[in-house]
């Protein structure tokens, strides 16, 4: 793959303003490195999810939210006026907290959903991409004999991996994950975390987590958010062993959550 010190994605002064009155997140400038996992941690309401959702223009759907600043993917601002959000979201995928397979579609059709969108119909191509994505999501062996079963017939952990496979099928450059394991049991959480560690070779990952241990387990870099500001950023090892900012120290020692 490529150099993991290369900056893949970057924000400059990114902020999200709600109802013209208060900032969900304010003036954040961060770099995301190629094939690395960056985690966002912080107490509830600190703005980490708001920030994440600005990275694939999900706030476009909320009329009350205004985004300021820039988000550069490979040096191009995704918020530039001539850029279409629909195109951006193919390059920057997202997995949500609740597993959301399309319940009426089969497992196969779920994974292929993104491909159908752009008009890919050829069976051979679809078969290949579906298998590849399911393998990358560590789900292939479990479902390969029942690809035509409905997406809702899987267990919670499997559904989340299906959602990941679906996101991977369109081959995004960056994968955003919003607390992907918070609704899963410990076993499924473990397998998804293992998955993340393997996936970063293929895609740059940014993950929001409310669980500090998870950040330590899966991420290379960590950013700590507090009441709308990005307070500290650094290599995960360093941030957790030697937090520089007093608020970071307080949070890591469990003073608040």
């Amino acid at each position: 793959m490529s150099d993991s010190t290369e900056i893949r994605m970057e924000t400059k002064g990114l902020g999200v303003l709600y109802n013209k009155t208060h900032y969900g997140v304010r003036n954040v400038s961060l770099q995301f490195y190629n094939n690395q996992v960056t985690a966002f941690i912080g107490p509830s309401g600190c703005g980490k999810t708001t920030f994440l959702r600005a990275l694939n223009r999900m706030h476009d759907l909320s009329p009350e939210a205004q985004v300021e600043g820039q988000v550069l993917l490979d040096s191009e601002d995704i918020y530039a006026p001539q850029v279409d959000a629909v195109v951006v979201r193919r390059k920057i995928g997202m997995v949500f907290q609740k597993p959301t397979p399309f319940p009426t579609k089969s497992i196969y059709d779920n994974v292929a959903a993104g491909l159908y969108l752009v008009g890919i119909r050829k069976r051979e191509i679809l078969d290949e991409v579906v298998e590849r994505s399911l393998r990358n999501a560590a789900l292939w062996d479990e479902v390969k004999d029942r690809l035509n079963h409905p997406g809702g017939s899987l267990s919670g952990g499997q559904q989340q991996r299906l959602s990941i496979a679906r996101a991977l099928a369109v081959e995004p450059e960056v994968l955003l994950m919003d607390e992907p394991t918070s609704s899963l049991d410990p076993n499924s959480t473990r397998s998804v975390e293992e998955l993340i560690r393997q996936l970063k070779d293929k895609v740059t990952i940014i993950i929001v987590t409310h669980n500090m241990q998870q950040a330590i387990r899966v991420s290379d870099y960590t950013a700590f958010f507090y009441t709308g500001d990005m307070v500290e950023f650094g290599l995960t090892k360093e941030l957790f062993e030697n937090p520089k900012h007093p608020k970071t120290q307080e949070y890591l020692s469990g003073a608040f959550s």
Binding site: D84, V87, V118
Partner: protein, 297 residues
Amino acid sequence: MNLQLRYFRGNLLQWGTVFLTALVVVPLLIIILFIVVNGFSALNLDFFTQELGSPARAIQGTPTGLVASIVGTIIIDTIGLAIALPFGLATGILMSEFPEHPFASIARILVSTLNGMPAVLMGLMAYALVVKNTGGFSAFSGAVALSFIMIPIIARTTESVLRITPWVLREVGLSLGLPRWRVTFSLVIPAARAGIITGILIAFARAAGEAAPLLLTSFGNNYLTLDISEPMDSLPQRLYSLAISPYKQWHVLGWGGAIILLLFVIITFFIGKMVNKQLEKNSARLINIKQEEKGNE
């Protein structure tokens, strides 16, 4: 499929839905327009004060009107409501306040079944129960038929309004030692008062527009009467007869009756919507208060 094509297709289908919406909305506006225009010109003093009488009157040009129908509607509908209220409210209270009782779930199924029943069948049942046993068509049997229609509606709306009242109310009442019936009547129902009244209004408006059951029970009367043991006229039932009659003058009266019914429906519709909006605001306020309290804990 490239992006442009995808957007084009989406836009096309979106305009399709606009077209379909117009297809539905335009006829409604046409209907209202025609009724208002034609109906308005039919309304005059005679309309409100004269009886219908025989066709000969209309053909000869003697003044005729629908006073019998208007008065009859008021009488029959009011009696019907009086009959329906206790039963409808009781059933609504049963479904909401006694959900653990087996009757409650049975009642719920039956209420929703009855709400989907054709009104004409209610008329047949009232005919069999009342008309046949009292020797003839009467205003009273019509009132009974209308009550059959109103009871399920009142039951359903009462239940849904009572369910929405906060549980806290009952908790407070019971912990004060109040018996259940007191809790219901003095605390819960007053809190739900507006919604219950709206529900009653809706049921009344709905029954007021039904012609089929009345054609089979109160039958109709070309002359004004206040005797509820006799056949009595009412607007919807009369409208049917006027519309299918061959007399031009009666058609004109029909338009007049139509605009009155339409106005009645529109007014109750808007009152209902306004009360609902107010109720939503109130319950939203209550939810906010509850959330604040929870936050302060």
